[in-house]
C-alpha cells in the first residue's frame, strides 16, 4: 500500500505514523523528514514549485523500483509545495517492513532518487533577496550507490 501526497498543508506526521504502524506482520517502521534549514538565520522561507502531472508519476515509479529491490509493505511519500517557512518540514518518507534493513534502505533510496528525479524546484527567500536553489553535486553522487 502506498500514500503519495503533494500539497500545501503542513504534514500530519501522527496520522502517517499511525498508518505505517498498523500491520502486525511488520517489525520495522522507518521515517525521514526533511525540513527548511536556516543557515545562519539567512533563510526566511522557501517557495516550492512542481510539475503536478509528472510529480505523482515519478514518485509512484520510485516506490515501484523500491518494491522490486526490498521486501517492504507500506510506503508513504508526502511532499509540500508552496511557501514553507524556516524549520518547517518539506518532505516525509515512511516505510514499514518485516525487517529494519529493508525499511532503512528503502527510505534512503527514495530520498536519493526523489532528490534527482522528482520535478520540484525551490526558490529561497533570504534576508538579502530571492534566488533559485541550485542542484547539488552531492545529490547526484548519492545515486551511485544504487546503480
Amino acid at each position: 500500500m502506498n500514500i503519495i501526497q503533494v500539497n500545501q498543508s503542513p504534514i500530519d506526521v501522527n496520522s502517517l505514523i499511525t498508518w505505517l504502524y498498523e500491520s502486525p506482520t511488520d517489525g520495522a517502521v522507518v521515517t525521514f523528514m526533511g525540513k527548511v534549514r536556516s543557515f545562519e538565520n539567512q533563510v526566511i522561507s522557501l517557495t516550492l514549485e512542481h510539475y503536478p502531472e509528472m510529480t505523482e508519476k515519478v514518485l509512484g515509479n520510485i516506490i515501484n523500483q523500491a518494491r522490486g529491490r526490498w521486501a517492504i509493505n507500506r510506503v508513504a511519500i508526502v511532499h509540500r509545495v508552496g511557501k514553507i517557512y524556516a524549520n518547517e518540514s518539506i518532505v516525509f518518507v515512511g516505510v514499514s517492513a518485516a525487517h529494519r534493513s529493508d525499511a532503512f534502505a528503502t527510505t534512503e533510496f527514495i530520498m536519493d532518487i526523489l532528490k534527482n528525479e522528482a520535478p520540484f524546484w525551490k526558490k529561497e527567500q533570504t534576508v538579502s533577496g530571492q534566488n533559485w536553489v541550485k542542484a547539488k553535486e552531492s545529490d547526484l553522487n548519492a545515486l551511485k550507490k544504487w546503480y
Binding site: L48, K57, H79, A118, W121
Partner: protein, 81 residues
C-alpha cells in the same frame, strides 16, 4: 499540435509558461535550437546540458523525436526534498 511548458527558472527566463506549436517529427535538440532563436534569454534558459526535458511527464534525452500531441516540458535540474 504540441504543448510546450516551462517550469521554475526556465519559465522565469523565457517569460512564458506555455506555448502551443506543431513541432512533431523534430528532435528535442532541434526544438531547443529553434526556440533559442527567440532571443538571448531563451538561448540562456534552453542551453543544452543545463536544461532538462520531459515528454508526457517522463524524462527524455535530446535525441527524442517528438510525436503528435506530445506534451514537452523544459526545466532546470530539480531541487526538491
Amino acid at each position: 499540435m504540441n504543448k510546450i511548458i516551462f517550469f521554475a527558472q526556465t519559465r522565469e527566463l523565457v517569460g512564458v509558461d506555455k506555448l502551443e506549436l506543431a513541432v512533431d517529427q523534430m528532435a528535442i535538440s532541434q526544438l531547443l535550437e529553434q526556440l533559442s532563436l527567440r532571443g538571448n534569454k531563451w538561448s540562456l534558459a534552453l542551453k543544452e546540458k543545463t536544461v532538462l526535458c520531459a515528454v508526457n511527464q517522463t524524462l527524455v534525452n535530446y535525441d527524442y523525436i517528438i510525436q503528435e500531441d506530445d506534451e514537452i516540458a523544459f526545466f532546470p535540474p530539480v531541487t526538491g526534498g
